[in-house]
Symmetry: C2
Subunit: 472 residues, 2 copies
């Protein structure tokens, strides 16, 4: 007996109605896109920007109210609105409104610099966010040993027991946190994948996530990839890059799923006060939001630095990596810590895309957690560089800087209000052979640029002096 024999007239009738309703939906969508086109024409004529958060917020409120009154899943309403808004913007852009410029993110800058270097020209590279220290010798030995022992087969996605155990020990030693379980941890190919899978687990199309600007572009890239919106809380050099808990609270929308915090911060070197951090985490917890705390620069903190482990809300994801503290960027190994159910969802993404991190790399990472002397050394040297580079930058009248309290960066701002850091970065590369990352890669900061301190001090000093020459 096939399905069609069983099918009653009832099912046929319902299906007919579904088809009619579907067609009617498409008809209204077409009407809506037509309206968007006309709005685009008006905006183009009057040189208005495409994005209008106020209008989007009002639509979201409307849609959610409609969902509640009709008993429709709010997540579905949010998603459909997300699809419609994205398409509207696309259509509006085609009406001749100005296209946003391609951002020169640190990755774009790295590719440009490597291109120039391949022509044989030597550059002073202050663009890439990686320390210049060697990875610990013990790690290199451990990885080589693991290779010779043929630790070269698949492992389970979460990570090998040796590394999970070492991570639990690290959390206990470093933070006094003793409650971590294996099923809360996950080993990732770099902090970047930990961040992506965190964002993709908490947010989907039509959702939003609050981020504090300026920030590492990977947050926005990840959110854009899953169709979610980054709501930026802007901080400024004038306010010492301090985000106020009130402004973070105000930024939260009905479709907000998470808040991303990352201190010490890339690119500003800001370390948020523990009080403000806890207040933001408390707000998130009250609203049932997830706090994603990216603590990758925790070994380069020179002021008391908050950690999510000291004030865990119900929903949290801690992401970190061996890249910075241990100077193991090129090993591509990071980790995440989250409630078991969240961790399982993140792991599903890792499993379908990556299978696992190489076992020999995982065993190297486990060894790294024993290398405290190297991490202390790296941290101490970076502190000296922050001090010396801050002094050197202070000699350049055209720039101002809030002295970094951590991280491996300085983020000076030009005093000139018309400074264009993208043009400046290109000029600096061409005329002086020095690379920096323009501020627009980290948010709306055309007057700023990022200097990475991942170079010996004499190189940093030489680079900063060349910056001074070009600006002088």
């Amino acid at each position: 007996m096939t399905e069609s024999d069983l099918r009653g007239p009832e099912l046929e009738e319902l299906r007919g109605e579904v088809a009619e309703t579907t067609k009617a939906i498409i008809g209204l969508v077409a009407k809506r896109i037509e309206l968007a086109k006309r709005i685009g024409q008006v905006k183009s004529r009057d040189s208005l920007p495409i994005d209008n958060e106020g209008v989007e917020d009002a639509l979201l409120e409307d849609v959610l109210a409609e969902c509640r009154s009709l008993g429709l899943d709010e997540q579905l309403g949010t998603k459909i609105l997300g699809t419609l808004l994205a398409e509207s913007k696309k259509v509006q852009r085609m009406q001749g409104t100005p296209k946003p410029k391609q951002l020169i993110t640190p990755m774009v800058m790295m590719a440009k610099a490597k291109e120039v270097e391949r022509t044989g020209r030597r550059l002073i590279r202050l663009d890439v966010g990686e320390p210049d220290f060697h990875p610990p010798e013990a790690v290199i030995e451990a990885v080589s040993g693991a290779l010779r022992a043929y630790k070269t087969y698949y492992t389970v996605g979460r990570g090998v027991p040796e590394l999970l155990t070492a991570l639990k020990g690290y959390l206990a030693r470093r933070y006094g946190y003793r409650d971590a379980a294996d099923d809360q941890l996950s080993v990732t190919p770099g902090g970047r994948f930990a961040v992506y899978s965190a964002l993709a687990t908490v947010a989907s199309e039509g959702d939003s996530v609050v981020v504090i600007e300026p920030n590492w572009p990977a947050y926005k890239e990840g959110l854009e990839y899953v169709g979610a919106r980054a709501i930026s809380v802007r901080t400024t050099l004038e306010e010492k890059w301090e985000p106020s808990p009130e402004r973070v609270k105000e930024a939260i929308r009905p479709n907000t799923k998470a808040i991303v915090l990352s201190y010490p911060a890339n690119p500003t070197g800001k370390v948020m006060g523990k009080g403000a951090f806890k207040e933001i985490v408390g707000t998130a917890d009250d609203l049932g939001l997830t706090v994603i705390s990216d603590e990758i620069y925790n070994d380069y903190a020179y002021a008391p630095c908050p950690t999510i482990l000291e004030c865990l809300p119900r929903k949290y994801i801690l992401t970190s990596s061996f890249s910075k503290g241990w100077s193991m960027t090129g090993f591509r190994v990071g980790w995440s810590f989250a409630p078991a159910e969240t961790s399982a969802r993140m792991l599903k993404i890792l499993g379908l895309m990556i299978t696992c991190v190489p076992e020999f790399v995982q065993l190297g990472a486990a060894k790294a957690l024993e290398c405290e002397a190297e991490v202390s050394h790296n941290s101490r040297v970076m502190k000296e560089r922050i001090d010396a580079t801050t002094e050197e930058l202070a000699k350049i009248d055209a720039l101002e800087l809030v002295k970094p309290e951590g991280s491996i960066y300085a983020f000076p701002q030009a005093r000139s209000e018309t400074f264009d850091s993208s043009a400046f970065a290109m000029d600096l590369l061409e005329k002086k052979g020095v690379t920096v990352s323009p501020g627009t890669g980290f948010g709306d900061y055309p007057r700023c640029f990022r200097i990475s301190l991942g170079q010996p001090q004499q190189v940093l000093t030489a680079g900063v002096r060349k910056i001074g020459e070009l600006l002088g």
Copy 2:
């Protein structure tokens, strides 16, 4: 001057209409979900399945016709239908229709086996799809050397020049293909990521991709992740796992973006004839579809095996990996080859999630391409195992097998029509300490299971005999 000063009544009016239309769309969506709920109740009452491809196809035709008549972007219509169908199924499932069982994919089986092994019990592991050979010694040396030379920093996402050059040389030597350019290649963390980024680049929500069943579950997992549908062309043991080009052509829907081919095939060991392969590629090309050819088992082919390089259509993505031929599963390094524009889109996904593959691993992969003797050895041994295991399986009356023409697997089918390979696999693990992967992990094949030949012959023979004992 702010935007509100400039805003004419025209813009306000249009925005009001947008808000009204949005609300009306949400109203219709709620009505449609209500209908889905009622359909779910009927289906639950009459024990009908949720999925009904005929109904979905008819809806798609309707939506596309409506899009054309209204001048609406078909991709948008397809996407909205995709969202509505997914939500309808979710709602129908909540009405008490039977939930699909969790599939025991090879990855799930691996996790179960590792769990048992951690209790100290020794198993005969015929589940994992990885060769047991050692990776080439020269690769281990190259990776260790690269580590000692501190090749431990970020590289550009695409891959280091040494590996790109080596891959171009490999394509020329192995396939006589000399036209590959750097910007067509991309180095990935394993073939799995190459496959994911290929699928995610060609298909998005509401789209479909044709796959040939049985197949590696990663294709369907990747499609599900991006919200696209896998349209399966079923092949059977009775037809010697041969997919007919006509049936592939018939499977193509108006929202189909690509066809995935992978020969030698996992799990059947089928090698498609070059003629049929070319015919399918030609069909795809005629329709402007992308052919994704996953050629990861190409070194284990014992019949003339097709490659996309011999019949490149306009749109293609070749994915491959060092995992199988070189037995480098745990190095997590693969690659893709596609038109430059497609490759750039794939690379964007890699950049935002991974940054790059470790440089020391990339340099090991470049060295692997010189290790032809090891690949030949692995291939020769695998051929012997296929022969011996086929003979051994032939002694089990309860099973039938089409002798594999390639790959590293055998995929026998129970003669009993009520055989449940998932229950059998669990029984086999418990009673005999042997692991296999149930056929349902690869499609609708409850009577089949996959035996991985990644074990020495005496282990394979012992394992197969235990299978015989349990079935006998």
